[in-house]
């Protein structure tokens, strides 16, 4: 039932992963793979664009938790951007805004990296 896809772009040093569809326990693996691939290429600056993400489950949230430490210890980060209100609510409820940088647009997130 759940359709999910990712799309990878680069903006200078920053890697942008666009999420599309439903991110749950079954599709989380897909995102994990995408991020692992970046790490294997020593790319640690990641912006995740949530604009087209319709739903996220706890397993989906777990993906960001799994990688954030690796990114930060390598002078990188995972910055989250352009969430739909329902998706943001889930992040907010859990307290993610305290631990992750969440931006309303992708550009803001990229700019933050370049500062």
């Amino acid at each position: 039932m759940a359709e999910f896809s990712t799309n990878h772009r680069e903006n200078g040093e920053v890697n942008i992963i666009e999420l599309n569809g439903y991110l749950d326990a079954h599709t989380a693996q897909h995102l994990e793979q995408a991020i692992s691939e970046l790490i294997s290429k020593n790319k640690y600056k990641v912006v995740v664009n949530f604009e087209k993400l319709k739903y996220i489950s706890s397993a989906g949230l777990g993906v960001f938790m799994a990688f954030i430490e690796t990114m930060r210890t390598n002078n990188g980060d995972i910055k989250l951007a352009a969430m739909q209100p329902n998706v943001y609510n889930i992040f907010d409820l859990l307290g993610f805004p305290l631990l992750y940088e969440i931006f309303s647009t992708e550009n803001e997130a990229v700019t933050k990296f370049n500062q």
Binding site: A25, Y55, V63, M65, L98, L99
Partner: protein, 688 residues
């Protein structure tokens, strides 16, 4: 089968014995020197001959014959015939007695010996005839029985008509029947349909045997027709039998001459036929495997073994696309390194259009592919498809400097189709075994969860309490509990472990243990959650977290203390108003720095009469309808507001009814937990 053949065998041997005895008595009493007597004698011989065939056939039905063994037995029989004639000739001249001198002292002995010889001749002829019959009917598809019956009738007729020739001088009748018989011999000799099924080696053998048999039959004709003692004895015994013998030998010569020529023509295509036969038998093995194989490795071995056979290759291996590393599975006669090199070149040639086709590679032109000992010249890759999806590739490679031809290509194509079904079956089987394992695991997880959750709702003086728990099939990791705390306090927890199944159930068990021990030392919700966060770090994986609310009702102070670690809000209904309470707090396991503690808010509230507190897990608000819309917190609030005057149990029931109505089209994907409290301080007042 065996029993019935035994039963029918018995009387037939008797018939044979009766016929043999009858013939003997007849010969002792009469000398066959008139047409009638000769004819009667011949009829008796025919009976002996017929029952010999029947009995010999019965002896053979237990065996299956191959054409080559039949031809060999013919060789043996005709050779035996010649030896027997020669032997009897020798014996006869040794005694120096002519058959006509019947009155000598050892007449009885001589006639006995002669009779036994005659019988042996009949037996050999019967056997030869029987073998011809088997050869004729071997692998015949159409009904050709008429041809053979006609031959056999004309053979008998022409044999019998020798009597008319002798006694009436009607030679033309004999000639006419004989001509018919010979024509039928030719027709029947053209009806050989088993040569094509022989292997090349067998065909070569057959050429040799045919030549030998032609010589043997010709030899036997000269022996019969030479004017020696044997001929005299046989002619004296029965002219017809001798003529039959002659005709049978002629049939043999005609038959094997044709056979020789036909085999000769078949020889060039013999190899192709051999290959087809090998293919067919490989496919038979494989189609049996399709339904049998439990062990994936065994299946792979069989596929590569057979692939080498069907397309004349030297090496074969499989790769599965599920496997990221594309490691060769079940490689035969090839090393991993070479296989890897060849497959990477072959796969790099594939694009969207050609991925469904077999691709070929001339390895010899790729210099970098040559490795010591393993010099392959040609390689091919066939996709393993199921439901139009490519699951993997079957590779074959050969050392000979002849490229794979059209035949190999077709064989590989058909073979890879068969293989992909087998591979798909094996995968499905593995998946269903895995599914069964998961289901058992989930049973365990559900059982754990049931045992972890409170078995009954505690009776507390100032609180009306209700709880609802509906587990999801996959075990969602919801947890709640109540604690009687020292100092006239009552604690509760509601939590949701991320993840599902047995791993969630384990974390729940751990969480319960941690909280149960912490409530002995701590009574502040914040302290309990902060301690839990630091202890549970060891249990939680990087990807897992827990959302939780810990609350404490202080009956003395009439206050509620509460902290929220990333969990859903608490709803408060007071004075017909609805309030969503959402103190700051990060989920357990999200961070193990001091941030968790600094951000975790200590919320407290003065309790008022009939305050209703509702806690829930996201299984309630994220229950889905058929359009995948959420039940949502707004709907939840509305239902609670509408039924706030009722008991907490009734409120819980209303909520659950609405949730199940809303989500009836879709399966419940997460645990649902509802926890309700109503503050009742002035019990006396209310009852009074």
């Amino acid at each position: 089968m065996e029993l019935s053949s035994k039963i029918t065998q018995q009387p037939r041997i008797q018939f044979l014995l009766i016929a043999v005895a009858g013939l003997f008595l007849f010969r002792m009493m009469f000398t066959a020197n008139t047409l009638l007597l000769s004819f009667t004698s011949d009829l008796l011989i025919l009976a002996v001959f017929y029952y010999s065939i029947i009995n010999l056939n019965q002896l053979q039905t237990q065996k299956r014959f191959s054409p080559i063994t039949l031809v060999k037995s013919l060789m043996f029989l005709s050779l035996t015939g010649i030896v027997v004639y020669k032997f009897f000739d020798g014996v006869h001249s040794l005694f120096g007695i002519d058959q006509i001198e019947f009155l000598s002292a050892n007449a009885i002995f001589v006639s006995l010996v002669t009779y036994v010889f005659d019988l042996v001749v009949i037996l050999i002829l019967a056997y030869i005839f029987l073998v011809f019959r088997h050869l004729f009917f071997l692998k015949q598809r159409r009904n050709v029985k008429t041809y053979f019956t006609a031959l056999w009738v004309f053979l008998v007729l022409s044999s019998m008509s020798t009597l008319l020739d002798k006694y009436q001088n009607w030679e033309f009748i004999k000639m006419a029947f004989t001509a018919n018989a010979v024509i039928l011999m030719v027709i029947n000799s053209l009806k050989i349909s088993w040569i094509a099924f022989l292997s090349k080696k067998e065909k070569k053998q057959l050429l040799l045997y045919s030549m030998a048999l032609i010589v043997l039959f010709a030899l036997s004709i000269t022996v019969i027709n030479s004017q020696n003692a044997v001929t005299k004895v046989l002619n004296n015994f029965s002219l017809s039998l001798n003529y039959f013998n002659l005709l049978l030998n002629v049939y043999g010569i005609i038959y094997f001459s044709f056979l020789f020529v036909i085999t000769l023509f078949h020889l060039p295509t013999a190899e192709a036929f051999d290959r087809k036969a090998a293919e067919v038998s490989s496919f038979q093995v494989l189609s049996r495997l399709i339904n049998q194989v439990l062990d994936f490795k065994e299946l792979g071995d069989t596929i590569t073994d057979l692939a080498i056979k069907v397309c004349n290759a030297d090496a074969a291996w499989i790769i599965l696309l599920d496997d990221e590393t594309k490691t060769p599975v079940a490689p035969k006669n090839i090393g991993f390194v070479t296989a890897d090199k060849i497959q990477s070149v072959l796969l790099s040639q594939k694009n969207k259009q050609t991925e469904n086709e077999i691709s070929f590679l001339n390895v010899a032109v790729c210099n970098d592919l040559e490795t010591k000992n393993e010099q392959f010249c040609y390689a091919a890759a066939a996709p393993l498809k199921s439901h139009k999806k490519i699951n993997g590739y079957l590779f074959v490679a050969k050392k000979a400097e002849v490229p794979f031809d059209e035949e190999d290509r077709n064989a590989l194509e058909t073979f890879s189709d068969y293989s992909s079904i087998a591979v798909e079956n094996a995968k499905l089987l593995q998946a269903s075994i895995e599914k069964e394992r998961l289901e058992r695991e989930l049973d365990v997880a559900r059982e754990m969860q049931q045992k972890i959750l409170p078995q009954y709702i505690p009776q507390v003086e100032h609180l009306e309490i209700s709880s609802v728990f509906v587990p999801a099939f996959e075990v969602g990791g919801d947890y709640y509990d109540f604690f009687e705390l020292p100092g006239n306090k009552f604690g509760f927890v509601i939590a949701d472990v991320s993840g599902k199944g047995i791993s969630a159930a384990f974390i729940m068990a751990e969480l319960r243990g941690i909280i149960e021990s912490l409530v002995n030392t701590y009574t502040k919700p914040k302290d309990i959650l902060v301690q839990t966060n630091s202890i549970i770090e060891r249990t939680l994986g990087k990807k897992n977290f827990i959302t939780a609310v810990f609350g404490v009702f202080d009956f003395t102070e009439e206050k509620l203390y509460l902290s929220r670690a990333g969990h859903t809000s608490m709803l408060l209904v007071r004075n017909n108003g609805m309030k969503e309470i959402l103190p700051n707090g990060v989920g357990l396991g999200l961070t193990h720095t001091e941030k968790f503690e600094t951000f975790l808010e200590e919320y407290s509230l003065e309790l008022k009469e009939n305050d209703i507190f509702v806690l829930y897990t996201d299984g309630v608000t994220e229950a889905k309808d058929e359009n995948l819309r959420d039940f949502g917190v707004t709907t939840l609030k509305k239902i609670i507001e509408e039924s706030q005057s009722e008991s907490v149990t009734m409120i819980a029931q209303n909520v659950m009814r609405q949730v199940s109505l809303f989500s009836r089209g879709t399966p419940q994907h997460d645990d649902i937990t509802l926890l309700l409290f109503k503050w009742k301080n002035n019990l006396e007042k209310q009852h009074g």
